[in-house]
């Protein structure tokens, strides 16, 4: 079945620096969703990308969907301690389920 692969698995960031996490699929995706899970918490929906080459911004977060709709990225600028958590990409192989990547766990050094 469809799988999405995320890299890196872990991201250690100095506060104030930027970083990017990537999500890749071997198949074309109809859309891709991003979720954030804080330590001890549950996944929280961030955004959905649908169109080829789409770019969406949420404050310091920039989400991009690749032209071929097989990859996506999340870029965070000026990282803050509130950005700590695990970021998951998820894609629907059909209308009824989401396949989640393994996530990128972000820690921040103050």
């Amino acid at each position: 079945g469809q799988q999405v692969m995320q890299i890196p698995q872990y991201q250690h960031v100095q506060e104030g620096e930027d970083f990017t996490t990537y999500c890749n699929s071997s198949t074309t995706l109809s859309n891709i969703q991003w979720y954030k899970q804080r330590p001890g918490g549950h996944p929280v929906f961030l955004i959905q990308l649908v169109k080829s080459g789409e770019v969406k911004k949420q404050k310091r977060l920039t989400f991009q969907f690749g032209e071929a709709k097989k990859n996506s990225s999340l870029h965070i600028t000026a990282t803050q301690t509130t950005d700590v958590g695990t970021y998951f990409c998820a894609a629907p192989p059909n209308d009824y389920k989401l396949s989640f990547g393994a996530g990128t766990t972000v820690t921040v050094r103050a």
């Binding site: 969703q33 979720y35 918490g41 549950h42 996944p43 929280v44 929906f45 959905q48 998951f88 998820a90 059909n94 009824y96 389920k97 989401l98 396949s99 989640f100 990547g101 393994a102 996530g103």
Partner: protein
């Protein structure tokens, strides 16, 4: 507007026992999905319920079963518990865009 509510929050069971987890979806949401999240991994799809029917099932054995009630709430039942069933069980409801997850039930099998 209440989000997704799950109960109980924590549960400890012995191998071989049976467990029932409960979920009330977000107001206005008619679709409920269940996910299993092992420590350090992304959520894995168990099944989805819509109109009181199981609409899609993931790669989980028949020991995992569910139900959806006319008010859209749902139950997840797991029989003959194994140590490997220890995980965070997440319920997610959806209507159109993105999934809203509950806080989960942390199940420990000893």
């Amino acid at each position: 507007d209440a989000g997704v509510t799950q109960s109980p929050t924590h549960l400890i069971k012995t191998r071989g026992q049976q467990v029932t987890l409960r979920c009330s979806p977000k107001s206005g949401h008619d679709t409920v999905s269940w996910y299993q999240q092992a420590l350090g991994q992304g959520p894995q799809f168990i099944f989805q319920y819509y109109e009181e029917e199981e609409r899609q099932r993931g790669n989980f054995p028949d020991r995992f079963s569910g139900h959806q009630f006319p008010n859209y709430s749902s139950e997840l039942n797991v029989n003959a518990l194994l140590l490997g069933d220890s995980a965070l069980y997440l319920c997610a409801s959806s209507f159109h865009l993105g999934y809203t997850f509950g806080s989960g039930t942390r199940l420990t099998v000893v």
